[in-house]
Structures are given as C-alpha cells and as structure tokens.
C-alpha cells in the first residue's frame, strides 16, 4: 500500500504524491472505499477529576500513577472534523510487513535486483511504524514519538 502508492515523487522520497504532467499536482489517492460523509469521528472525552472527587469517585491516585493529567488537559480542546476525515480517508500504515513487500515489488520493476540487499535495491532501511496520509493535500507522517508529544506523556511503561 505505502509502497505501491508512492510511485512518483517530488521533493521527498516517501510522500506518496503523484505528479501528473498534464494538470500539475495530484494528491495521494484514497485508501478507503467509504464516502467521506459516512465516517464518524469519535472525540475523546475530557475528565473533570475534581467534580468526580466531590461526588464520591476519587480516581486521582490511578491517574497520578499513569502520569496522565496533561493528557486529559489536552483532551479539552477543539476537534476539526473535516480535517480528520480528510486525513483518515487517505491514511495507510507503513510497518515491517509493508517494508518487506517493497522488496519483491522492486525486483518486479528491475529483475537484476534479485538477491540484493535492501540498501542495494535503493530502499530505505525500515526504522519504525508510521501512519502516512495527507491533510488537505499536505503530506504528513505520524509516529509514536509524535503521538507521545501530542499526548504530553512519556513513551514508557507497560505494553503487552
């Protein structure tokens, strides 16, 4: 998916933006076959811990252990529904499986690459899982580091 859509590129090697010589710039194609208006954006709920505590439900100790108060503060803000939908309809996951799929595709394009390493094929070595998409045409990449920063939470702790 990621590799197949990123065929012709200008400016950056992984943008997935196709260039059409007749009409100028073309945007990354949609990855989901659902009409834009059918999507339902789920907005996270902020939590008023003081109100909960006053009404007999004190969960502050649990959240202190998780160091999540800055995350809940962030949740009380605007959600741009149209932008989120535009992002989602073109989103794709670039993970280890996708990276591995790039190699046979490169061999199909150029059979002389058979048996060569990823670097020799001209492919970037896989570093980490990314979500790739565009927002109003602007190509974006979201990683775990970006999510951690936006959540105001350190990327440490249990993950099973």
């Amino acid at each position: 998916m990621a590799s197949s859509s990123a065929k012709q590129v200008t400016g950056s090697s992984d943008t997935g933006i196709q260039i059409n010589t007749d009409s100028g710039y073309l945007i990354k194609p949609k990855t989901m076959a659902i009409p834009l208006e059918s999507f339902e954006v789920q907005v996270e709920s902020p939590v008023d811990f003081a109100s909960l505590k006053r009404n007999g439900m004190n969960l502050e100790a649990e959240m202190v252990a998780q160091q999540m108060f800055p995350y809940f503060e962030m949740l009380n803000g605007p959600t741009f529904v149209t932008l989120v939908k535009d992002f989602w309809i073109r989103a794709e996951v670039y993970d280890l499986d996708e990276a591995k799929d790039e190699e046979p595709e490169a061999v199909i394009r150029d059979p002389s690459l058979k048996g060569k390493t990823r670097q020799e094929m001209g492919l970037e070595s896989f570093r980490l899982t990314e979500i790739r998409s565009t927002v109003m045409g602007v190509p974006v990449t979201i990683t775990e580091e970006v999510i951690a920063k936006a959540c105001r939470v350190a990327p440490i702790g249990r993950f099973v």
């Binding site: 989901m32 339902e40 003081a50 006053r54 252990a65 932008l83």
Partner: protein, 225 residues
Amino acid sequence: MLLKFLTECFLQKGEGSDQPSADHKRVLCFLASFNKINLPRYIMHHLCWAIKEGIRSKRKQIPCGRLLSEIFTQGKILEILRRNNLASNNFIRTRTGKIINGKTLQNMKIIKKFSPDEKDLKESTAPTKLMKDFPSILQERNHEFLSKLVAESVKESGICLDAETSEIQMFLLSKSEGRGLLLMLAQKPMKLKPRSQRRTRLRHPILKIALLLSPRGKEEKENPL
C-alpha cells in the same frame, strides 16, 4: 469508571462491539493495578488497527479525533492552511468531547444526585499553545510546493474550510436528496432574482438555509426583497 475512561478517552470502540478487546482488557488491568502503561504505543497500535480495518472492512469510526486535531495544530497544518487563505481563526467545523464529571456518575446511576460547582470544567474550543520542540510531521517543507498541493486538494475534493460554507456543506452532505445541486449552492454565492421577478418560490427548507448563509443571502437578509 476506569472502563469508561478506557473506551471514551483512550481506545474508543466501534459500534456494536460490547466485548472488550485484548488491548482493552490488558490496559484496564494495568490501570486498576497502578502499573504505568505506554499510552502512546497503545494509541499508535489502536490507530494502525483502525486504519487497517477501515481499508479492509470499511470500518466507519475514526478514533482519537481530538488527538489527531492536536497533532495537526502542533504539526503546523493549520498554519499552512491559514497561509493559503483556507482558514481563519474561527474556521472549520469543530466539536468537543463530552466531559466526564459528577453528572456522568448520576447518569450511570452510581450516585443519586450530583453536586455541581461553578469551578466545574467547561468544554473549550480554545486552541492549545504551540510547542517549540514538537517533532515535524511534514514530509515536505517547501512553501510553494505545499501551496500547490493544497490548491490541488481543494480542487479535487471540493472540501471548503470557510466557516460559513463548510457548515452548509456538511449539513448538505448529510442529506441524500439533491446533493449535487445543494453542494453547488453551498460553494457558490447564490444569484437570485428579486422575489417579484421569480417564477417559482423557494419552498425547500434546505434552499432557504443555503440562501441565508451564502454571502448573497446575507445581503438579501439585510435588505429584504
């Protein structure tokens, strides 16, 4: 209540899925036992799963709408849209999450009557401050190139982010009848003859709303025909 936090604040579920997933069970266990979880990794995992499900089985729910919006803000997407005159400060259809507070406990029948306070948290649409050290999400930084991409995207998708027209557009998108005509009306100022010269009357309520919200409609509202 921890399960409510989990399904409404971290890893939102789709419709009709009453049974918690394996991730939900694990995170719930860690929350209850004061074990710190790697929240960013769980959210990344959940987003990747939801995208793959959207591609594979047409899942319609988009989780983490607020978090994605925050990433767009901090990642300077809004700045690019403003620079290209696609958005003003009060632009784009926005939503806020419903606050979980004492009233929620009453709705869940955990308490009989909740006691409100003037200091209770209010829903906010105020943008957050930009962080200086936020990692870049842009794959391309050439302003001219980005402007061309944005212009092409608007042309291709027809999405309009202006506050007035986007409201009409999204309202009209939710209606199945006469979508093409109504979208056209939402995107273009209406040019109507004075009422006395019209052969037909505007009977359809959607047409009336489009007229009132369009720039031309405002003029007409100020100077009724």
